[in-house]
């Protein structure tokens, strides 16, 4: 049976990096990925008390995708008002490793841009499969869709990517 992290700190240690990579590939930028990781871990912290034993991965990624979708909804509402000045909200980019990180990120620029052109459902399925490494079962649980839908979304998503990259 799958072992379940007992505390949110353990979730942060074990899954933080994966959540960040998912968030980055879904949003395409570090600031939004940072926000999403923090929001997800906040929700995990609140939700762990009510967690029912089952697929922890499915539960975690469902929280992650819901946090992302909620953020998109909030942004869409906010678009009618001027954006706040967020220049110094995250000063992480000025750390010593920023250049190295930028180089690593830019290596996959074309693929990242292509990913961002996919409709959310397809991008999510492809990223969960190819970046996070979830099984189709786990993706089905995270997205709350039948496994046949996951199969179709992943294949169609890859087909769309091919069209964009060519």
């Amino acid at each position: 049976m799958e072992s379940i992290p007992l505390t949110w700190e353990e979730v942060a240690r074990v899954h933080g990096r994966k959540i960040y990579n998912f968030a980055y590939r879904l949003t395409g930028n570090a600031d939004d990925a940072n926000d999403l990781v923090q929001e997800v871990l906040l929700r995990v912290r609140k939700g762990l008390a009510d967690y029912q034993p089952g697929s922890f991965e499915g539960w975690l990624w469902r929280i992650t995708r819901n946090a992302f979708l909620d953020d998109i909804r909030k942004r869409n509402r906010r678009l009618t008002t001027p954006l706040p000045d967020e220049v110094d909200r995250w000063d992480l980019a000025s750390t010593a490793g920023a250049d190295v990180e930028y180089t690593r990120v830019s290596l996959g620029d074309d693929i990242q841009k292509a990913l961002l052109e996919l409709p959310f459902e397809f991008r999510e399925a492809v990223v969960l499969c190819d970046v996070v490494g979830l099984s189709y079962d786990e993706i089905a649980m995270a997205a709350a869709v039948p496994i046949g839908t996951v199969r179709s979304r992943i294949h169609r998503g890859r087909k769309m990517l091919r069209g964009i990259l060519e």
């Binding site: 240690r13 933080g16 960040y20 570090a30 923090q38 992480l92 199969r151 179709s152 890859r158 087909k159």
Partner: protein, 139 residues
Amino acid sequence: MTHPSELISAYLDGELTASEAGQLLSHLASCGRCAAEMEDTQRVRAAVRSLPVLDLPVGLVPEADAELIPLHHKRGVWVGAAAAIVVVVISVAALFAPAPASVSVEDLSSRFGARLSLDPAFGPAKVIMPEWEALVDEE
């Protein structure tokens, strides 16, 4: 002819049953279109999987940072060694100081402590870790 193209990705991901995989492979043997699609899909899949794995920004989730610093016990040993050297240096300085009455060990410790807090580049906590790791690895 029905082309089972949606089985292609699932096949590459190891998500087909044996009978589905057999069905797809026998189809591919006689369908150039699906065989080409298999190759294209494999390329795209490999491209996405080749995206660099990014590290969690340091400080974003302090609880996760501990994972990135696996040398806690080694650092403890070296900080202890550095502190021992500092004690020896201070003691020797106190012994050979020209005016021992005006500069006590407590004064030196106090000044040293003040410098530690004022100059972050000075002191055992800032010794470059990679060199230490190399030293430890050689042992």
